[in-house]
Symmetry: C2
Subunit: 323 residues, 2 copies
């Protein structure tokens, strides 16, 4: 099997009738429609073997997660994902791997009606990169820069589950004996696409929690030129963290863990009721965890007492970080 056979067999089998795709896989570039009154939203994420995933993780989970990680960025903009392109760098052709990987990728893309429209296949150390394009009504995107003093800070779902699972694996727990809830958080995150769309007109700023709550809150604060106070006792900890004996042991996973792919967003207090009402229909927990203040510092409170000093070291994941 060569490069063209590989594309034909594994990456041209998706059959979504997507009216936005004028020309898909197989030309120099894809041609896509962007609806009138909509802006294009574009993002990209790369996963490297040995860095973002263990070399023996299931290829299906890998494909699923690659798609969801990108879909999460589109969700954080309040946009509708539409199309994807894939850059696949592989050491060689392993048909069982390709079958499983493409199954997982398409399972995730199909959930959101996203069509794979092109890409590039090259030989080299395994590196997987997906680019997503979506649409959002003009001026309705959820950027990071709109938070204002007095807004509430919210987070979707729960925090810390993926990081806790990763930590257990590092301590030689086998992936098969990992508690299923935390394993799913690590391997098969769910992008909050519907929530992002529902937050249009309600949220003032939004970011997805991929680097860790404190790190991503830092990005949002820097863009919005504001500060945030978090009330740590309110954080929605992932259920798997309950087996830890104390908040002191559980909180670092929720604050710095990363890989959660939940939405962290701000909204005026007048929106509180409307936001709470979204939770039921979407089936997603939504928790108020803090408030927006003046200044540029993120403070951690526990039952109102400032415990920031205890958590200063939890800066979140950063490639090329000196430590």
């Amino acid at each position: 099997m060569d490069e063209f056979g590989l594309i034909q067999q594994y990456f041209k089998r998706q059959n979504i009738p997507n009216s936005k795709v004028i020309l898909g896989v197989g030309d120099d570039a894809a041609i896509l429609k962007v609806s009138e009154g909509q802006s294009l939203v574009a993002c990209v994420d790369t996963m490297v073997s040995g860095v973002h995933f263990h070399p023996d993780v299931s290829p299906s989970s890998l494909g699923y997660k690659l798609a969801m990680v990108n879909l999460s960025d589109i969700a954080a903009m309040g946009a509708t994902p539409v199309w994807a392109t894939l850059c696949l760098t592989l050491p060689g052709i392993d048909e069982a791997w390709l079958e499983s990987f493409s199954n997982g990728l398409f399972e995730a893309l199909d959930k959101c009606n996203v069509q794979l429209v092109g890409g590039d296949t090259t030989k080299g150390p395994m590196t997987l990169s997906l680019q997503l394009g979506g649409e959002v009504v003009h001026d309705k995107a959820l950027a990071r820069h709109g938070a204002t003093v007095g807004d509430d800070v919210w987070v979707s779902g729960s925090l810390g589950g993926a990081a806790y699972a990763l930590d257990l694996l590092a301590k030689s727990t086998s992936i098969d004996t990992l508690q299923s809830g935390s394993r799913l958080r690590l391997e098969r995150p769910e992008a909050r696409v519907e929530l992002g769309l529902a937050l249009q007109g309600l949220a003032s700023a939004c970011i997805d929690v991929s680097d860790g709550l404190l790190a991503d809150a830092g990005h949002l604060c820097a863009s919005s030129k504001v500060a945030v106070d978090f009330e740590l006792s309110a954080l929605p900890l992932h259920p798997s963290l309950s087996e830890l004996n104390s908040p002191d042991m559980a909180l670092p996973y929720a604050l710095a863990g990363g890989d959660d792919y939940e939405l962290l967003f701000t909204a005026g207090s007048a929106q509180c009721g409307k936001i709470a009402e979204l939770s039921g229909p979407l089936g997603i927990e939504l928790t108020k965890i803090g408030s927006v203040l003046n200044g540029g510092v993120i403070r951690c409170l526990y039952n109102g007492a400032d415990v920031s000093a205890d958590h200063q070291h939890l800066r979140g994941f950063n490639h090329f970080s000196p430590h």
Copy 2:
């Protein structure tokens, strides 16, 4: 320096006032305008160290070529490039490398008024991936599937120069002593963006010559369900090939070399005059090198005699090809 410092210092310094970019580097995704009446054109190309480039090639040339290779795909669609996202996987931070690489990248992007609007930076074996977005008037894109029997086959510029340079390097010629013309063809190809735009309404099908003339003609023929006869004596060979003693030695570089980034296109014979007239103003040689026929076979003629059997093995570059 960490990931965020790297992006800030090397990849946020471009300052094109591009009215299509609503939100660039620094959010979960970029937000872009697509003009009314235009379709979006999207493509992506990856370059892997040791596969697509020698590890000690100049980083500036690498950045330049990464951009041009992608711009060539946009050119082959007859589209106007607008924005780019970059996935940079690097083994570590080398500031001199980043300075030089980003200089070369921006030199090429600036030539075409393309703005870098986002990307992803990860640690791992060096893999460079650029995604480009462009615009084309609805129904005016140059796809591969429009060639019809009786059309002429054209190619821009010259063929074989990059492959010949690569071959000399493999035979231990130092890159500094390489003839400057062929070195430029290898390291700093020029995407034919203006030509692609000028061919709207004239060309019936178009592809860029990246895998080699025969391989890319094969893709065009397969999409258009036609055959092509090439007249090899008409091929515009790169001047550096003149130091070879015979056409038999020079032709393989032109037929199978790849990395030429010229446009191979078809057009009705009624367009011959108009196409020839584009050459002067654009400063690009345009040569009629064959004709479109029925069937699915590519034939090579030399002064009218069928010499296909001599060139059957020149199938062009193919990742994961069994030989």
